[in-house]
Symmetry: C2
DNA sequence: GCTTGACCTGGAGTGCACTCCAGGTGGGAG
DNA sequence: CTCCCACCTGGAGTGCACTCCAGGTCAAGC
């Protein structure tokens, strides 16, 4: 029976929705550090790694550029004394997400009005 | 006194928020057709052109790929009998925008919870 | 009349975020 | 024992949507 607290690459792909190539890429650029390896050199992920990838996925899918995720990753690695900075970074991002949603809602109104217009002339 | 129903490239940039390079690029790939020229070969846009660019901006800013804007542009050019197809295309896009907003709202919750967590351990 | 600057063209270059590939290793199922 | 398959590496390639550049034209304000 497999150790449920260790994930193979395939399991992480399944779990996070990232492709294996993306995960390797993230490790290469330093978004992911200190990933365990088995004797054969294959990656073995902890639940913490999977959780971290989940957060990265959330940030990526809300439009955070990699450069900023990297800054965040460095804050996390730097230790507890950076918690305030992390909060600041996330709050800034949260504001951008809010603006993004507002913009989308606004534009959706325009699209809907266009649809109504087309319906009226059909 | 300038004719208010004719826009220079600079005015269109001001009006639409697109860069002049993007506008030329859109003309090159066929998102923009039959743009008037003055004697010197410079572009002169009509209010209709500006309106069309405004719609393109909305579609672009809600994530529609150029290939699909191109399909839409072709429908518009093909004439009145494509109105139903245009509605279908816009409705499909509208559903994607809706999903996008929902995803963003959901992820924003996660970001906010992360912020709360950091605040609690600070 | 001259300068300035907005505009033109074709084509090359950029930035981002992956994605793919060749060539190779190691371990478990049959 | 052999096959297969998941995995490995470094590095090249991709797709999208612009963005920039060199070299040139024209029109209007001073």
């Amino acid at each position: 029976m497999a150790d449920v607290s260790v994930y193979t690459p395939a399991e992480v792909v399944e779990e996070t929705g990232f492709s294996i190539d993306t995960i390797r890429y993230y490790e290469k650029i330093g978004l992911l550090v200190d990933i365990d390896r088995n004797a054969a050199g294959q990656r073995r992920f902890t639940p913490e790694d999977v959780g971290w990838l989940g957060l990265l996925k959330c940030l990526r899918d809300t439009g955070m550029p990699i450069a900023e995720m990297l800054r965040f990753a460095e804050l996390v690695r730097a230790g507890e004394h950076t918690v305030a900075d992390r909060v600041a970074l996330l709050e800034e991002h949260d504001r951008r997400v809010k603006a993004q949603i507002a913009g989308l809602v606004e534009r959706q109104r325009y699209i809907k009005s266009k649809i109504s217009y087309y319906r009226s002339v059909r």
